[in-house]
Each structure stands twice: as C-alpha cells, then as structure tokens.
Subunit: 377 residues, 2 copies
C-alpha cells in the first residue's frame, strides 16, 4: 500500500515535516510494509522553507540580514536541488512578527533584508529562487529589496532616498546602472495567493496597510508612493505592472519583484507542490493524508488540504484530512470530495494540551485511521 | 453491509439507545443502504432498563414505591417480551443517589422499594425478571425486599423487626408462611459483575459499607447482622449461601435474592447481551461499533465494549469503539483485538461541551469512520 502524507504545518505547533513524520510514525506501527512518502507542504507562507527543504532533502543556510527597521538579525533560507534553488521566506527578514506593536509603521519599514537574502543566494550560484511573501511589515513596493540588488532611487534634487515606505512618493528616478550582474541569470518564483493589485481600493496600501500599523493618513501617503514608483517603472525601466494580480502582495513587493527582478507570481500551493513533486508521488498511491491546524467547514479547507484534494482526486487517489480542530458541517467537506476528516483530539482537552501533544495525537489518529482503512475484510 | 451498533450509555450524558441512534444517524447519512441494527447495551448498572426496553421494543411502567428510607417515590421499570419479562433497576428505588450525604446510613436503609417493584411485576404476570443491582444505599441482605414479598422477620421476643440494616442482628426467625403465592412462578436473574461474597473481609459490609455511610462500628454491626440472616437462611429456609460469588453485591441483596427468591446471579453484560440477542445480530455482520463515555488504556475497556469485542471477535466481526474520552496507550487496546478506537471530540473542547454535543459528535465521527471503512477502493 502506497500512502502519501502531505500535511501543511499545524500552525504555531508543528511544522509540516514534523506533522508528516508523526503521521508516518502512527502508520508504520500499524502497517510496517506500507510504502510511505512524506511530502510536507506549504502555501507560500509560514513553513514554506522548512517544508521544501525537507521534501527535497535540502539544507538550510544562516546569514546576517536586516529586519524591517534595518537592524542586523540572523536569518535562514533553504537550498535545494544541490544548491541550484533557494527557498526564501520574506517574513524571516521583513515580517511583521519582528516588530513590537509600537514599531509597526509602514512609512519606516523596508524589504531591504529580503533583498540581502536574495543577493546571498545569487552569489552562492542559485539559478532559481522560490520566494514566499506572506506576513510582511512593509509597504515599499520592493524598493528596499531592490536597493540590496543595486538599484538606486533619487529624488527631485537628485539626492538618493532611503528605501523605506515614506520615500516612495519622493522618487523621481530609478538608477539601474549598478544592478547585480548575476540577477539576470536567476529566475524568481513568487509564492503568493494574494491576488490584490498594487494600486487602487483593492491595492496594497488600503487593504493591508492598516494591519501593518498605517493610519488612514499613512495609507494616503503610501498609495501616492506606490503610484509614484509604478510611474518610475514605466519611465525608467519600461515595465508596466498595471493591475497584475498579486502585485499588491506584501506591500507591493509582489509588483516590485516582477518589475525589478522579472519574477513570476505563482499560486503558493501549486508552486510548492510542483517543487515537492506531489503529482508524481500521487500517481499510483492508494491513499493521501493531509492536515492542518484548523479545518472549518464554513471557510472550507485551507490552501494545502484543498490543493492536495484537488490534485489527488484528479488521479483518483482518496484523501483523508486530519486537523487539530474540525468545526462546523464536516459533511459539506465530504461533498467536496474529501473521503473523511478526523480531529486529532482524543477527548476533552485545551488548545494548549492539543498543541503540546500534537505529534503523539497525530500518530495515534493516523494509526487508527489506517487500521480501519486496511481492516475492512 | 450489515452494521451492529452496540454502545453502552455515555455516562451522565447519553443513554445507550440515544448513543446507538446517534451512531445510526451518522452512518445512514453516508450509507443509506446499510443494514443497521441498534443494540443498546448495559452491564446491569445504570441504563440497563432503558437499553433492554429499547433493544426489545418494550414499555416502561411507572409505579409508587419506597426509597431507602421508606419515603414514597415514583419509580419506573421496564416490561419486554409482551409483558413476560420485567427489567428492574434496584437503584431507582433503593439507590444511594436518592439520599443526601447526611441521610446515608446503612443501619437505617432498606431494599423494601425494590421488593415493591418485584411484587408489582409479579402481579402483572411476568414470568421472569432481570434485576440490575448496582449503586445500592443498603446493607440489609435483602430483608427489605423480602418483606415486600411477604417474608416476616422476628426477634428473640417474637416481635416483628423493621426490615432495615440494623435489624438484621436481632432476627431469630424468618416466617415464610405468607410469601407471595406467585413468586415461585417467576425466575429472577440478577445482573451483577460484583463477585464479592456476603461475609468476611471481602464481603458486603467491609468493602461497600463505608461508601454507603457506614462507620467502622457500623460495619461491625452490619457484618454481624449479615451473619445472623445467613444463619436464619440455613435454619429456617434450608438455604446455604456460603461464599457464593456476588452474594455480597448490593449490601447482600445478591445473596438475599438467591435465598428468598431462588434467583440466579449472572454477569450483567452477558445477561443483557443475551436478552438483546447480541450474538444473533452479530452473525453475518460486517462491522460492530461500540462505545462508552471513557475508554482508558490503563483500565482497559469498560464491561460493554470488552463484551462486544469478545462476542464479535468470536464470530470474526471487526469492532470499532468510540469514546468521549480516549486515554493512554490506545495501541494496547488494538492488540486486544479492537480494530480501531476514536474519540468523538472534534478539537479542543471542555467536558461540558463534549457532553452537550455528544449526539452530534457521535454521528459525525461514525459517519467519517464508515466513509473510511467503505471508501477503500
């Protein structure tokens, strides 16, 4: 029996590789002869690096980078495919989680650190980069990231401006003369499921600015700034972003990656599933088990369980999902094709107890599921 | 597919018939063509009457009886097999639950009310009685019960004594001349899993007396009283109870039923399973699902899940158990033959939430289990 274990991370509790390992442990105890494939997944957000490094037997490198306020911090990114591909999570350098509440201010923050990670990967000789861009502290259209790559930004007085949110509206000219020579040899794939455009009422500033600390006045300033940068892309770089879906992701970093790096924006799940060879592994499998921290019938599945379901059902592989918490009308999820859904809870317990014992609970319920699955006489 | 649903009650939460109905609801939604048999079970304790009345489509009768302190109270018992068999729970008339803490005193309590229920059943023409005897407030060797049936107890002065615990040691003579004329036509089966004898260090008084409110001095008095009654059984009725297993059940009511009524003490689960035709229903079944409120690997199964497992495995029917709470090393229970075990919990929740939503949670998890069971392609 070939079984594919393809969970998302159980948020704030268990990484996807650890969740997959816990599933495998429970199944192995019941069915030692099963052919098990652990394919930890992610959707481009939290856990993307760990999932892909694990799925592809890659390595993690640690470097110095800059946080959203340009303080030096240690960060990590992954290298897979014998160092050919880097897996970078923007949030590790430029994420909102790095700031205290009083520090949250997208006028002052920058994606510089993300750019420094890209530069490090480029100089190690990667030919492609997978860049997850969830959870940013920034609304800078990627000018911080671009500065690290050698782009320079000048105001009306031809003075260089700092690559932070509030500088955007002052930019008159982008200087591309000193861009990193190896950038053109690297293909960057942006993993994002945000489809907002850069500008306008659905754009980066009004939709995501407030959660990063922007007041209504700041949102106005940021919107003008994003418009200014967008105009410069046209005038100085001959790049038109327009209403490209995902351009507004990560405070316009999505658009910035396209403009400054020729990046391609992809669905996070699809990109990671592709790199994890999910389709290949699903072929000929008897069963796939996915999972995540919460599955709520009203919000349907998260991106990973839904993606696994779609891909597995396409090749007629049944899928079972497990969750720390399973809410609402579970049967409605069955109607969408999920064979079955189980909670990992073994009785009344608190969220903390569930999280503290998640690995063991996952092993246990997966063992019991497989016993039923194989035990039909 | 033929599926047997044979749960115990989920204690303080859901009766066995309601638990079975919840299981059926969840399975029906998935597999409307399944041949489902709801066989609610019990072990002779709480829920015995409701389970058997439901399993055998019986009826419940309400009568006036006496509580352990001889106060009039309404009680119920079941009639099954077209009124041929009564199902009586001693605790409904003579249970500890009827007394406040300050009222608990086995010197003063009596099984009179249980006897009144037996008389009522006899006079309705039953030919057999199933009598569950868990949870008594009494240690009276069944003299209260016997008094209701027409037995009379006299002291050394040939004065009648009240049929309560403290009277036992005063009894010199049992008068059997006025015993209910139809008693001999009725077979009484005592459902009990207590194996303690009437007398001695493992007997009714020292082992169960304290939890009924007996002080060490009372235990001495009760032990002497039980011994006195036992002697009278030999001298006046030619009945020797000796160390009959179960004689000490329910404060010696076990022995009293044997002595006064010619009753037979049976394993509670086996007796109820027999009346519920469990063996018959299991034949040719594809799956049995049992369950109870708590399943703890350290204490193994409760009597009902363990009994269902034993009987089902004997005819090669796989068994799945569900529980409100599943504790400890579940795999050790698998090794004892249980195909699989699942909690009904759908995520972190309190005991109260689990109990409030038990029926829905049972339906849900049973539906998901059956989806896996049938869904293997």
């Amino acid at each position: 029996m070939k079984i594919i274990l393809a969970p998302n991370a159980f948020k704030e509790c268990l990484s996807a590789p650890k969740a997959a390992a816990a599933m495998a442990k429970g199944i192995n105890a019941v069915l030692p002869q099963a052919e098990i494939r652990e394919i930890p997944l992610a959707d481009g957000g939290d856990g993307t690096m760990e999932a892909l490094v694990s799925a592809r037997n890659g390595e993690i490198v640690s470097i110095q980078s800059s946080d959203p306020l340009q303080r030096k911090i240690p960060v990590q990114y992954g290298l897979i495919d014998n160092g050919q591909t880097a897996v970078i999570e923007m949030a590790l350098a430029s994420g909102l989680w790095l700031l205290s509440d009083s520090e949250k201010n997208p006028l002052k923050t920058t994606t510089l650190g993300t750019g420094e990670m890209i530069v490090d990967a480029i100089e190690r000789g990667v030919t492609s980069i997978i860049l997850g861009i969830g959870g940013s502290a920034t609304t800078d259209a990627g000018i911080g990231m671009a500065e690290a790559l050698g782009y320079r930004f000048y105001d009306a007085q031809n003075e260089p401006v700092a690559p932070i949110g509030e500088s955007m509206s002052k930019i008159k000219r982008i200087d591309c003369s000193d861009v990193h020579s190896q950038l053109k040899n690297v293909k960057i794939y942006v993993a994002s499921d945000v489809t907002n455009p850069l500008l306008g009422p659905d754009g980066a500033a009004p939709v995501y600015g407030p959660q990063k600390g922007a007041t209504p006045e700041m949102v106005q300033i940021l919107e003008q700034g994003l418009q200014t940068v967008s105009n410069c892309w046209v005038s100085d770089m001959n790049v038109t972003i327009g209403d490209l879906p995902g351009g507004g992701a990560a405070g316009g970093l999505g658009a910035g990656l396209v403009a400054f790096c020729g990046a391609e924006i992809r669905s996070g799940f699809d990109l990671i599933a592709e790199y994890a060879d999910l389709d290949h592994h699903l072929k000929g499998a008897d069963l796939a088990i996915t999972g995540e921290g919460k599955i709520d019938a009203s919000t349907r599945f998260g991106k990973v369980p839904a993606g696994v379901l779609r891909k597995a059902n396409a090749v007629h592989v049944p899928v079972i999902a497990i969750a720390g918490q399973l809410s609402g009308d579970v049967e409605s999820l069955n109607r969408e094709g999920m064979l079955a859904l189980f909670s990992i809870a073994n009785g009344p317990l608190t969220v903390q107890e569930s999280m503290d014992n998640a690995a063991e609970l996952i092993s246990q319920v997966c063992g019991q599921i497989i016993r039923v699955y194989k035990g039909r006489s």
